[in-house]
């Protein structure tokens, strides 16, 4: 891994949509899509987004500490054993500190999102106590934080119908395991996720600049690759922007609030069925960045050619044209070439 340090703060807006699928079922509510009952906005939690990102890291052969249920104990044990190595003496304090660094090198997702490690209390074991101390008590706060996303539109759900779960439950002796067609689907929803990369917290988990640059392709690919099956199919990334700031400790905050559905150019919310029915109003976002462009190093961006955008009441183009719009307002941009760039951040190339 490259030993490069994150110097700049970044703020991320990642807009995705979901068509005829269940982007985030609530297990406490019969796996129905999460929704605000007052506003009828759909909700996708940050946990769900981070699960996609972790699964993509795993698919790319990066070490991942928090894996899917089922693999979890094996992977955690393997990671722990890998880094603990042959240390058997609490006095070997430098080596113990090394294992903390080795652990963070191995657990890519912990560098991004942090983790809470468990250590037995009052072990009466000097070695374990020394390890716990070296790991700062085991609480790593992730320097990359995402917030839950609430859809820009009020959503419609598909009609009620019997799911196969009930059919299976009444069957006789033989196994029927693994059947999981999900009948709880949203017709259409468009979500703006908000994220922050905190350069101050980066040193705690050894987050590198390479890690941050990897996010530029990871978010897009995770949404493409980890939503290919079952109820998650039908989700697409539509716009990713990472605003990299030049000024220490500075960020605008809540940049996702700069995006709205253009009510005039979009179909009425109950009629939204796919991306071509929606137009994204980017006026507030562009104006906010234009007003602080002295603080902006670069806006790294990738946009989808099917999501229309409008600015100041006029149709502008699509999300893929956002760079031109920002440049016109004095904001420097860099278009991310997802499939030309991501291989550079795979483990073999680190």
């Amino acid at each position: 891994m490259t030993d490069n340090t994150v110097e700049n703060r970044s703020e991320i807006v990642f807009i995705t949509d979901a068509q005829d699928c269940n982007p985030n079922g609530n297990p406490l509510g019969e796996n129905r899509p999460r929704k605000d009952p007052i506003t009828d906005q759909a909700v996708v939690t940050d946990v769900r987004l981070k699960r996609y990102l972790r699964d993509q890291l795993d698919a790319d052969d990066h070490g991942v500490f928090i894996k899917k249920t089922g693999d979890e104990s094996e992977v955690r044990a393997r990671l722990a054993l890998d880094v603990l190595g042959d240390i058997d003496d609490a006095d070997a304090i430098e080596e113990i500190e090394d294992i903390r660094d080795d652990f963070l090198d191995a657990a890519t997702d912990v560098r991004y999102f942090g983790a809470t490690l468990s250590f037995n209390a009052d072990t009466d074991d000097d070695l374990l106590d020394a390890v716990a101390e070296a790991f700062d008590g085991g609480n790593y706060t992730g320097p990359v934080q995402f917030s839950p996303a609430r859809s820009l539109n009020a959503v419609e759900e598909n009609e009620e119908s019997n799911t196969l779960t009930s059919v299976i439950a009444t069957q006789d002796d033989k196994k029927t395991g693994g059947f999981d067609l999900d009948d709880n689907r949203l017709k259409y929803a468009i979500f703006p996720f908000h994220g922050l990369v905190d350069e101050n917290g980066a040193s705690d988990t050894k987050l590198t600049r390479t890690d941050v640059e990897r996010l530029d392709t990871l978010c897009w690919r995770a949404m493409k690759n980890q939503t290919i099956s079952r109820s998650k199919m039908g989700q697409e990334p539509r716009l990713y922007v990472r605003v990299e700031y030049a000024t220490n400790g500075y960020h605008v905050g809540d940049l996702h609030n700069g995006f709205d559905l253009d009510a005039e150019r979009s179909k009425p919310e109950p009629e939204l069925r796919n991306v071509t029915d929606a137009t994204l109003d980017v006026t507030k976002f562009v104006n906010r960045l234009a007003s602080v462009n002295d603080h902006v190093e670069t806006v790294h961006f990738v946009g989808d050619e099917y999501l229309d955008v409008s600015y100041n009441g006029e149709q502008y183009g699509t999300a893929a044209d956002l760079d031109t719009l920002l440049e016109d307002h004095g904001v420097p941009t860099r278009e991310i070439e997802v499939y030309n760039e991501f291989e550079q951040t795979l483990p073999a190339d680190e």
């Binding site: 395991g177 693994g178 499939y339």
Partner: protein
Amino acid sequence: MRLLIRLRAQADAAYDNSHFHELRGRLWKGLRGTEYDELHDAERPVGLSFSNVFPWGDIEEGDERTVLVAATDQDVLQAIAESVITDRKFNVGEMPFRVEEVTTVAPDVGEPGTRGTLETGTGVLVRIPPWQADKYGIENEGDEATFWQPEYSLEPFKTQLENNLDKKHRLFCDDHLPGPSERDGDLFDEYNLIKTFAVPVEVTQGVEMTYVLSKWRFGYRVRDDHHRRHLNLALDAGIGERNALGLGFLNIEKDSKQLPGATSSAATDGGQR
């Protein structure tokens, strides 16, 4: 997406090579009385294809066999799944089975840059319409379409295959997305013909025709997201004609997927073993 239906043989049986229309009948039984019943007689691609009972070979009581059913519409699969779960007797001609397990699998050719091989699990039917025969130097004086055969060269096969997938794309994908013929490049990088063969096919009850079919291995490299969608559509809907009869069923060849930049290959997901 596809259903993987695990079967347990209920008696010794010789593998019946002519079982295909019996299998089709068993699967379509699941759609009877549902809103998808009309698909059976639809004069258009129905977005459904299925494998043979595999692995091939004579059967002993207690043996495990598998059938894969692919569809573009999750609700169609759900209707078939309900049928085979609620009535687990699964007799295919003289081969009696019981349904042991039903799971879903979602094969994916992979993100742009991925290489792999698709193989046909059942024969592919490609017919060249009479008005196209001259273009390919095929002698056809009648009104009937000509079954593709190797001597007609690869070009008409590729063209008809792509036209057929175009039609499925118009039916099953969003209107704003371009179909295969609207994008540069062939559907596949390599077309390796394994064999052609003629089989009698019961096209409707009591009506049997002899079809000339072919088996293939297709090499691919995913160019972009559109190409990925086209190839995944072929996995769901089948390729060539008469997929509702089970023809043109595709799998990702086991261990053929090479991810971009990967040091190891990924196993097939949901392919027929």
